[in-house]
């Protein structure tokens, strides 16, 4: 989009501040438009779930604690995610 080869694209929200930096326009936001969609989930094979149910449960326990951290420790979470993906 910034090179001008295409006129637009979709990006994961929130992108507004990055769009502003790149001088792009945010024309529509699907979150505000309330479009129902199974957006993000965790999946595995049924065979794996059956064989490794205890392991999957432990994975879920850790994952749920990570969600709690994401919701309660804003500064740490932003820093951790940026460090990971940068």
């Amino acid at each position: 989009v910034t090179s001008g080869n295409v006129d637009g694209t979709v990006v994961n929200a929130p992108f507004s501040s990055e769009a502003e930096r790149l001088k792009l326009n945010v024309i529509a936001d699907s979150v505000k438009m309330n479009i129902q969609f199974f957006n993000t989930g965790m999946l595995g094979s049924k065979r794996y779930m059956d064989k490794q149910d205890a392991k999957v449960m432990n994975f879920l326990r850790a994952y749920l604690e990570a969600i709690k951290i994401l919701k309660t420790e804003r500064d740490y979470s932003i820093k951790a995610i940026l460090t990971t993906w940068r």
Partner: protein, 168 residues
Amino acid sequence: MKKSLLLFFLLFCWAIGNAGAQERIRVGLGSISLQSGLVHIAIDRGLFAKYGLFTESVYIPGGSTNVQVLVSGSLDVSQLSGAPGVAANLEGADLVYFLGLLDKLNYQLVTRPEVKSVEQLKGRKFAVSRFASSADFGMRALLKRLGVEPVKEATILQIGDEPPVSRR
């Protein structure tokens, strides 16, 4: 001296035994997003280790590619949108979603500086990572909601994925 050596040996054996007790789980991440950061937070804060797991996260861009790796058995679980798993099951896979994080589309439609309004969207070219990806679904859903018929009134091109830059 002998006691110190014996103590060191016992501690070494204990450490080896504990490391072996951790079970490995391989997690596929299909996009660079806030949600996929959760796995990294859990790794960083030692949450998986707390529950006896050693987690390897692998960034595999694109839901359909990610599902292929999952079905092959090279991944144990993956974090993806709903579309790739459902599509794979329709082709005979045995995938199960065991966690849902978001039930709304969370894409923003961004355009070049000269495209400033919905009225200017018709006749334009738009990019998605891959056809049938969640980005493709999101693009088409957004355009339709804005009164632009995809394909007929706008061109959608697949241009590839985000760069694989995950550090872990």
